[in-house]
Amino acid sequence: MAAAEHKHPSYMAIFWYLAILTVLELIVVFMPFGKLTNNVLLGALAVTKAALVAMYFMHLRFEAKTLGWIAVTPLAIATLLVFVLLPDGFAVMKKTEAGSKPAAAAAPAPAKH
């Protein structure tokens, strides 16, 4: 039976890992590392937690390797999507900067008169 085929990981150990990683996330939020470092750390912690859930709770570690590749495909697609959206983001940022510069330059001008 399928039940016998699964090697059972220690689910309680995974639970404690997830709980500790969540506490770590809450600690990182309050650390004065700077926005970028904080976000990189938080992202890494979230991916680790998600990987633990997928590997052990969803038993991906004990499944065929091909299934694992299928499961990570959305991650690759989402990453690609970020790069697709980035150029548009930069374009909007440039426009916003270009739009705000003359206004900022024009603002002190009336004060001279």
Partner: protein, 204 residues
């Protein structure tokens, strides 16, 4: 040649990816598609946020105490889910049903807390089309992403309750093992997505 023989000649009895059942592969395929859906939502959220000049600080507006508790609750419900499956594998149907019930209860409390959070935020002025803190899309994306996830949890609770009935109606625990394992895949996926939503929407 009987109809059954013809059928097995067309469709192999086992998939090499998930030898237990085709249903399990079906759930994986569904989850991969659903993950693309959430991936698109989160990537879109990131794009809107980076290009916005007046995106409010999510931590200051939303707060994280309640959502941290909700995160912990979903992790706990994932543990009760695997424990339920484990008991079913050992042949203890009563314990399995108990743990599945705890899982459904965890999901129901999660959705209730989310309803409480939404009500609280709406009273403070966070709406889908406006808010007093800055970019309108902040409220839009918040309700869209958390709402889409909340719908998944609600669907999961209904799925869990119907599977409790399914297990209870089958005297042989082995007869429902595969169906409960498939249910577990869905439930853990909902937990996994929340881990991402919590990080990107509340902590970033």
């Amino acid at each position: 040649m009987s109809a059954a023989t013809v059928h097995s000649a067309i469709e192999p009895a086992e998939t090499p990816l998930t030898p237990e059942s085709w249903g399990k592969l079906g759930m994986w395929v569904f989850l991969v598609g659903d993950a693309v859906g959430f991936g698109v939502l989160l990537a879109g959220y990131g794009a809107m946020r980076t290009t916005s000049g007046d995106w409010p600080n999510p931590y200051a507006v939303l707060g994280i105490n309640l959502t941290a508790l909700m995160t912990f609750l979903l992790i706990c419900s994932s543990v009760t889910m695997v424990k339920g499956l484990e008991w079913l594998g050992k042949g203890d149907r009563t314990r399995a049903v108990q743990y599945l019930f705890f899982t459904a209860l965890g999901g129901a409390i999660f959705v209730s807390l989310q309803a409480y959070e939404w009500t609280h935020l709406i009273h403070r002025g966070l709406h889908i089309n406006q808010n007093p803190w800055g970019a309108t899309l902040f409220g839009t994306s918040f309700f869209l992403v958390t709402g889409f996830h909340g719908l998944h949890v609600t669907g999961g609770v209904i799925y869990l309750l119907s599977m409790i009935r399914y297990v209870a109606n089958r005297p042989d625990p082995a007869a429902s093992y595969n169906a409960v394992e498939i249910l577990g895949l869905y439930w853990h996926f909902v937990d996994l997505v929340w881990i991402m939503v919590f990080t990107f929407l509340y902590l970033f």
